[in-house]
């Protein structure tokens, strides 16, 4: 059975990969990714994406029961790879037939066509693409049937090399002050890494993987097993200490630009921690979360601004509790009308609240107070003992403190009575109430505490930027925060951090992504819900949460 060839499956997988390739070409993603070098002169991000498609199609074809034989695998790979090329070729030929197509499909540019036809003319390029993709399909199929001893080091070599290339900006910014100019030029391009560095990483990763599987893993495990109870505790304490210290010195290592990115991520972590309480712990799907962020930001802005709209001219520290308090008050007030709503209705109504706040912020009604579309300018900066916080690195510590506070509050409450009440509420509202839980106060506490963190993030946000405009507080922020806690793992605190790093940090580093951010978020939300609903870093309890329902249904059917 295992060596049998399923041609229909191969064709389906190939065509699917082709249609996806067509899609990312037509929306302009491929071309935009092509401007990003991974390995200078050898590989761009666009090429990587383009060539991954047939490779993985070929790889998928041989997926199934056990390992296939070489012959059938090769045929399957050719079919899958070649069919991957068909939809893009159709696009190339379409441009021949209808040269004006760009008027309709704005991203079908000559550059894209040249990228797809591998630099050759349309017809020759189409054939070339077909051949290359077929070969890559075979490569993918062959890759899958390679023995593990060869495949694993290869995977890690390629993975590290490409990962390093994609995140080259991080290492570039960290290493620039350390290494000399000449050395930097030998290792990094303006974008991406040089072939030299790529080769070094590739070889090193392969070497390390081989060493690890042969020798290192055993040694590490035996040493770990030999540790006494006290030693384990000691080593855990040491690693926590190292963690804290590295968090503290992180901005110094990263440099200004990366610190700014981390600041952004940090603000989203802060909001994520708050929304996680509302959605993850208490199960109340809130889509208007941006409202509290906006309220925190505007209150801070009005109270500390030196401009025309400023009232009070307060210091940051005096305004901060007022901003957070107002957000909490708004959270509770908006919570009251939705107390008796469940699930999806709650989602839509909170979305409505978010929109109301946004409309009000831009309206003429409130313009005399909050500036309408012109926003609020000259917002005050925080000062500590006469020292004014202006640089990203200063805000880094402020945000770090905020996140620390949020983590502290969220983890303490999760493990306490209130956390149990929230979870019971999430699981079964009726029974929770019948257990003696007061629904009103439990829900309002979730809304209030969630809003507090969002308000805090907003207050810091407005101080950091010195000026705020209503268009910064749109629905996309709410969706962003929701996406990051879902991708990280609903209800999981480390999940929030991971989610923010992936969904906020990564697009900042890969600016080519920026335009396609929402597109990818959308696809990611769907993919996560179908394939991995517990998220990237699930909390131990939620791990079984969503898969659970399916089992239950299956059991119910069997009874």
């Amino acid at each position: 059975m295992s060596s049998q060839l399923d041609l229909r499956n191969a064709a389906r997988v190939g065509l699917l990969a082709g249609v996806v390739t067509l899609g990312i070409s037509a929306v302009g993603m491929l071309e935009s990714f092509d401007t990003r070098d991974l390995i200078v002169g050898l590989l761009t991000l666009g090429q990587l994406v383009l060539f991954s498609a047939p490779f993985f199609a070929g790889y998928r074809v041989t997926l199934g029961e056990g390992k296939s034989d070489v012959g059938p695998a090769a045929v399957g790979g050719v079919v899958a790879g070649a069919l991957t090329a068909v939809p893009p070729i159709a696009l190339i030929l379409l441009t021949l037939a209808a040269p004006n197509i760009r008027n309709s499909l704005v991203n079908v540019s000559p550059e894209l066509i040249s990228l797809l036809s591998l630099g050759a003319s349309e017809v020759v390029g189409s054939l070339l693409l077909l051949v290359v993709m077929a070969v890559l399909g075979v490569a993918g199929a062959m890759f899958h049937i390679l023995p593990d001893a060869i495949r694993k080091p290869l995977v890690s070599g390629l993975g590290w090399m490409l990962g390093f290339a994609i995140l080259s900006e991080v290492s570039l910014n960290i290493l620039r002050p350390v290494l000399g100019r000449g050395l930097m030029r030998a290792l990094f391009g303006t974008k991406g890494i040089t072939p030299l560095l790529a080769a070094i990483i590739f070889v090193a990763a392969i070497g390390l993987t081989i060493w690890w599987s042969k020798n290192g893993k055993q040694r590490y495990e035996s040493r770990k097993a030999a540790m006494s109870e006290a030693q384990i505790k000691q080593s855990r304490r040491v690693s926590i200490g190292v963690g804290i210290v590295s968090l503290l010195i992180l901005p110094i290592i990263l440099g200004t630009y990366l610190t700014e990115v981390v600041d952004n991520v940090g603000l989203f972590i802060l909001m994520g921690m708050g929304l996680n309480i509302v959605v993850g712990f208490a199960g109340l799907l809130d889509l208007g979360y941006v409202a509290f962020f906006a309220i925190g930001a505007y209150v801070m802005g009005i109270l500390t601004s030196q401009g025309a709209l400023g009232i009070g001219h307060m210091s940051f520290w005096l305004a901060l509790p007022i901003a957070v308090g107002t957000a909490v008050l708004a959270g509770v007030t908006l919570g009251i009308p939705v107390l008796r709503m469940r699930g999806d209705y709650l989602a839509i109504v909170t979305l409505g609240f978010g929109e109301i706040i946004r409309v009000l912020a831009t309206s003429d009604l409130l313009k005399p107070y909050i500036g309408g579309a012109q926003g609020i300018l000259q917002i005050g900066k925080p000062t500590i003992f006469g020292f004014e916080m202006v640089k990203p690195i200063h805000f880094y510590y402020l945000i770090l403190a905020g996140v620390g506070l949020a983590v502290f509050v969220a983890s303490r409450l999760r493990d306490a009575r209130l956390g149990r009440q929230w979870m019971a509420l999430r699981e079964d509202e009726d029974v929770a109430e019948a257990m003696g839980i007061h629904l009103v106060s439990t829900k309002l506490l979730a809304f209030g505490i969630g809003a507090a963190f969002s308000g805090l993030a907003g207050a810091i946000f407005s101080a950091r930027l010195s000026s705020i405009f209503p268009h910064s507080f749109n629905l996309l922020i709410s969706i962003n925060v929701l996406s990051l806690i879902i991708v990280g793992g609903i209800g999981s605190l480390p999940g929030v951090v991971v989610g923010a790093l992936v969904l906020v940090g990564l697009p900042e580093l890969l600016r080519e992504f920026a335009e396609y951010r929402m597109l990818l978020y959308g696809a990611l939300l769907i993919a996560m819900m179908i394939a991995r609903p517990e998220g990237l870093w699930p909390s131990p309890v939620t791990k079984r949460e969503f898969h659970a329902a399916e089992e239950e249904e299956a059991m119910g059917g069997a009874q």
Binding site: V27, D344, D364, A523
Partner: protein, 356 residues
């Protein structure tokens, strides 16, 4: 009932105050507008204009709301991506059919045939996108907890929005103006913009057609059976998956048609055009009583009227500057009010609790 007052219900009191405040605002605003002459001075023609505009807008909401109501009736799920079904069909048909037809002069030569072609193409594309979304994003999750498909639907909504933005660009695309539809018709002595009249008539025809389809045909009966109880329907030999697909397709077809009418009235289409009308139409569906087809129609008209007449009437009456900017606020406030005080909507049963 009398027992309830023995245990003081504070939340109830707050909600009652909320309701009272809204009533006071509306009444006060209306009185000071009509009798104290606050804000702009409108003539009778202006008011009729507001009414007609509201009805036209409302019939569009009604058409879109059908998709929400049908899907909610069958799956108990808010199909967040419904507005994107509208947008996908409308943009595609505008760019690939309407603009070329208009440029070649065909559209002005054969306005009815031309518009029909455009509409059919829009409906087909919307249906295609809807079926794809249902198959890929919703069907695998049919047995999952309720929040899961909602999150997927949000994902699908943003995916399609930005997919079509990538495809067609983020610029506004003009919808061709038909020569025959310029100007006004006099209906019972009232001057009505021709486009608005067409929108209303087309909507009514489609609403009636849909009602007959659901109530009189075999497929419609299957849809109602699946809405009632999926398991029993399956036992009766109804292909549930297929019926659900048909439900999505029907809603999407209505949305596609609504999108073209929308383009006709506002004379432009863009990638974001589905989102706000989508949310408003959902509001309309809830307003009328989600799950009910006449409810969706009624809710749509009601919302359209309120949005159109409300700002000049009671918001200007309160002396609010730029009152028309706040029509979205009116819509969402109505949604909140309905969900708090009459979740079953104007007509229709209380489906929300059936599943709880």
């Amino acid at each position: 009932m009398s027992q309830r007052f023995k245990n003081i219900d504070y939340i109830g009191i707050v909600l009652w105050l909320f309701r009272a405040a809204i009533v006071v605002i509306v009444v006060w605003g209306t009185v000071s507008k009509l009798f104290l002459g606050q804000g702009n001075a409108y003539t009778a023609t202006d008011w009729i204009d507001f009414l007609v505009a509201g009805l036209a807008q409302g019939s569009l909401y009604a058409l879109i709301a059908l998709g929400y109501t049908l899907v909610y009736g069958v799956l108990f799920m808010i199909n967040f991506a419904h507005g994107e079904f509208l947008m996908s069909g409308t943009m595609t048909a505008t760019i690939f059919v309407a603009l070329p037809l208009s440029a070649s002069g065909f559209l002005d030569a054969n306005p009815i045939l031309g518009m029909l072609i455009i509409m059919v193409v829009a409906m087909l594309v919307s249906v295609g996108v809807a079926l794809l979304t249902e198959r890929v994003a919703y069907r695998p999750l049919r047995r999952a907890p309720r929040l899961v498909p909602l999150i997927t639907a949000i994902g699908a909504s943003f995916f399609w929005q930005y997919f079509f933005r990538g495809l067609y660009g983020s610029a506004l695309v003009p919808f061709p103006e038909l020569e025959v539809l310029k100007g006004e018709w006099a209906v019972f002595g009232i001057a009505v913009l021709k486009t608005r009249a067409v929108v209303m008539v087309a909507s009514v025809i489609m609403l009636i057609g849909l009602y007959v389809f659901i109530m009189r045909t075999k497929t419609g009966t299957a849809i109602r059976a699946v809405a009632e109880d999926k398991d029993i329907a399956a036992l009766m030999g109804i292909d549930v998956d297929r019926t659900i697909s048909i439900t999505f397709a029907t809603g999407a077809a209505m949305a596609g048609a609504a999108g073209i009418l929308y383009g006709m009235v506002f004379r432009q289409v863009h990638f974001f055009m589905g989102f706000v009308p989508g949310i408003k139409a959902f509001t309309a569906a809830v307003l009328g009583g989600i799950g009910s087809i006449p409810g969706a129609a009624l809710g749509g008209l009601f919302l359209g009227l309120f949005e159109s007449v409300g700002p000049p009437l009671f918001l200007e009456g309160l002396g609010i500057p730029g009152a028309h900017q706040l029509k979205d606020v009116i819509a969402f406030t109505m949604l909140v009010l309905v969900l708090i005080f009459r979740p079953q909507g104007i007509v229709g049963e209380r489906l929300a609790e059936k599943k709880a």
